[in-house]
Symmetry: C2
Subunit: 514 residues, 2 copies
């Protein structure tokens, strides 16, 4: 890896872990007045809306519905069902660099600027897609793969209008024993014995690129399904990365860099796959004279991989604007790792939930108590340290969420996206005009208050994917041939080149060489 | 209730709990040779079929698939997927009384006669339908009801070709506190606050009636979803029934007889509803000169209710052939209750699984140890006693089932139906040509060996019934108006009369009076 390339001008000791107190007043976007409410007005709005919903938040949350007021009704919750789930898209092309973190998101986080909020949710939904499409049925011969091919994925998950196209899937393995990481089929003949689908690379289309002011390459990394238990298994071994003192958790690095000629999907490592794809795309669009950015996102373990990916990409592309938007990610490396990332200009927005345990891993006690020695211990190589700017959310801010302790629920990405969607500022209540469908929170956990009538863990296939055949037998249907993973990417490659030509109009010699 | 009407001629001390050792030789049906295999031949068949399936039963069952032979494959299991799930129907009209138990199923159970096996499964599937169609979503305003109206139910569950039509739904409540019995919505405005759908009455159509030699009225009683825990709550209070010394468990009796003018669905009790319907149907078909039978079925608690129902029906219709086919039912009453049932000629086939706990409830130790004093304690009023002929199944007989302890799995009705389908005799292995779909066993438990690749607890709605609306919000769809339960049966009544006229050709004055 190459040496450090850029030292961002705004880097200073004080903004390593910025404390946010500024308001929109300091930030000169031409935001419409209604997008810039005062805290007082916001609070009033939220209150009147809560009354309208008849959620009786404070009283209802702490008691069982069975014993609640019999005249309590849910009519207005049902009214809400027939409203859009998204705000109209704004043209952010004039301010994309700030939204992308060029200024460490200063003045954008508290209160949270609506343009930034929308972008955070957009990237978070890519990360969520890596969970939603993941086949974790241990009786499936494709367990550990994506259920759809990369052309169909976003469409299948209702994200086809998001303005991005997936160009490549990433697969990962680990050469060290990481208990409970790999999802593996119980069958003998399977698509892969060692690798899991670990995420994808996507590119903004022309329309979205126009709106956001540049061609945006996104990498979305999948986390682990059983994350909270998983982090307990960490050995807390730091391993060197790069040429300097930087060290990172060896488990994360193993997943990012492992490869083996004996495997079908990891003859090249996740690192090589993703860097190869990023390189192709950056060259392709830069050769067309376009402005290009790289945004890397992930939740939990996916957030850790995002940082490693950003570290590597920043080494390869010193002048490329690179941001990481992570959700509920644990610490990844030591202080030198953090400092190198800062020096290379990687911008990291680290979204956390106060009640979520994972961002405090690994080494809670050890790290927390040493935090105040940050400057003194700058050379210590054995302390895990967070990177970037924190956007800290609070489960208690949402009137939709239960208050009880829920280790999994606090960590779920959908809980994060719900709280981002409702976040106005650290001093105001949940956003009155939050539009995202709250039902999504309960996809894989039990966090929503009973009044909403959303079952817990509802995201499931009919009959777990079994179908009744013509004889009346319940069988696992064959996967659509076009969705069966294939290690021979030749065909895909060809389609891919054709797709790129169609989508982006110009034929690049670089592409044809691949 | 009226006094005892008939004392069945075959009743004797020895067949109160018959021990079955006879073979087909004693039973003079004109069964086709292939339906009457010798045990030896059956064993060979089963073995060769197991080999064909490559299930490697003895080795595979006790070890994890992950460590199994890598050359092990499931090709032939997949072949099996494209075979019928049912044997052709036989004309049993000439021997229906014996099949219906007139001779206490003597010589029919060991080996199990294929005609009887098919009938047991048929009735068991009616009982299973009461589970499969039950709405137990506590966020549904219709929690505790049937998801479909009675015209659609059998069709929705793939039983429309079974030759029966449902004529009436039964609802029950309980005036005593029975923890964990009633499934109740958490909402305030619901279809009913006190009642649950508890089963149905159905009648054989003309074609089926011809095949089985009489017009068969079926009552199917639903059990409880969380049965095994539920029986632990029993207070073990016996309560008098009828005019004599007969006593039954007060919890069962409460569900069968409770009513209240304050309720919507139990202004009449389950007892009154079912007896009213049976009476109408018996009179209707007898007035046409048809031979009529009553077959009452149920699993678990449903089996208990079936016995109470049979007791009452036998009092009303002394000359009507009445049988109970129960699955995994607990004891219901004392010895006097049992004797009265025998004296009235009620025939009970009690299907049990050796490993199932519920048939030993209530009062395992107490009852089991007193069993040998049966004759001496004939007058004791406080001993729970089983009724009828037992068909005892063994989980270990099936190569499809796991061997581990599984309290719920051993009790599930689908496990029962699978074992009945495979039962040949107490001395032979699982039936080689068993056709019922083994996948059904895992509907609501985890009993199937991994080789079959059937997920556990797979019987589930897509996204727990949530649907994505036009705005992209996940909402609980409104129930189809025709499936919403209604306590005012006028409309149904009218349809019902029209249906009966259409189905059975004759208009009965009795029907028009209802």
């Amino acid at each position: 890896m190459r040496a450090i390339h850029s030292l961002h001008q705004s880097l200073s000791a004080t903004n390593k872990l910025p404390i946010i107190h500024s308001t929109y007043k300091d930030f000169k976007f031409e935001a419409r007045p209604q997008l810039n409410p005062s805290n007082k007005k916001t609070t009033r709005l939220a209150e009147s809306w809560s009354n309208l919903l008849q959620l009786h938040i404070e009283t209802a949350i702490h008691k069982n519905l069975k014993h609640s007021n019999p005249h309590h009704n849910l009519v207005n919750v049902e009214d809400k069902q027939n409203t859009p789930t998204k705000s109209p898209k704004e043209d952010i092309s004039g301010k994309w660099r700030e939204i992308h973190g060029s200024n460490e998101w200063e003045s954008l986080l508290d209160p949270l600027h609506p343009w930034l909020r929308r972008e955070i949710v957009k990237y978070g939904e890519f990360a969520q897609a890596t969970y939603d499409a993941f086949d974790c049925d241990s009786f499936s011969e494709y367990c550990g793969s994506c259920r759809y091919n990369h052309h169909k994925l976003l469409d299948k998950l209702g994200l086809s209008m998001g303005g991005y196209k997936i160009s490549k899937y990433i697969y990962a393995m680990s050469q060290i024993d990481l208990p409970r990481w790999l999802e593996r089929s119980q069958l003998v003949d399977t698509w892969s014995k060692d690798s899991n689908w670990m995420g994808f690379v996507a590119v903004s289309d022309d329309e979205e690129s126009k709106r956001i002011g540049r061609r945006d390459i996104v990498v979305a990394w999948r986390g682990t399904v059983s994350a909270t238990e998983w982090y307990e298994d960490f050995q807390r071994k730091l391993q060197p990365i790069g040429q300097g003192d930087a060290k990172v958790e060896h488990g994360f690095l193993s997943i990012y860099t492992s490869k083996s000629d004996c495997t079908r999907y990891n003859k090249s490592s996740a690192s090589e796959q993703v860097m190869n794809e990023i390189t192709k795309l950056v060259h392709f669009f830069q050769s067309k004279g376009e402005e290009v950015s790289l945004t890397i996102t992930g939740h939990s373990l996916g957030g850790s991989l995002a940082l490693l990916n950003a570290y590597e990409a920043a080494n390869y592309f010193p002048s490329l604007p690179i941001s990481v938007i992570s959700f509920g990610a644990p610490r990844v490396g030591n202080i030198a790792f953090r400092d190198e990332l800062y020096q290379m200009g990687v911008k990291t927005l680290r979204v956390t939930i106060k009640q979520d345990f994972v961002p405090r891993m690994p080494g809670i006690v050890f790290n927390e108590s040493l935090q105040r020695f940050d400057d003194i211990t700058g050379t210590l190589e054995w302390v895990y340290t967070h990177v970037g700017v924190e956007l800290k959310l609070d489960v208690r801010s949402s009137p939709y969420l239960k208050r009880g302790f829920n280790l999994m629920g606090f960590h779920m990405l959908e809980t994060y996206l719900h709280l981002v969607d409702g976040f106005l500022s650290t001093t105001s209540t949940f956003r009155a005009d939050a539009k995202r469908d709250a039902a999504l929170v309960n996809k894989s956990c039990d966090m929503l208050i009973d009044e909403l009538r959303i079952p817990h863990c509802w995201y499931q296939l009919a009959n777990k994917g079994l179908e009744c055949n013509a004889y009346g037998r319940w069988v696992k249907p064959k996967r659509d041939p076009e969705d069966i993973p294939s290690p021979t990417a030749e065909l895909h490659s060809q389609n891919y080149v054709l797709d790129m030509q169609k989508d982006y109009g110009v034929e690049s010699l670089y592409f044809l060489k691949v």
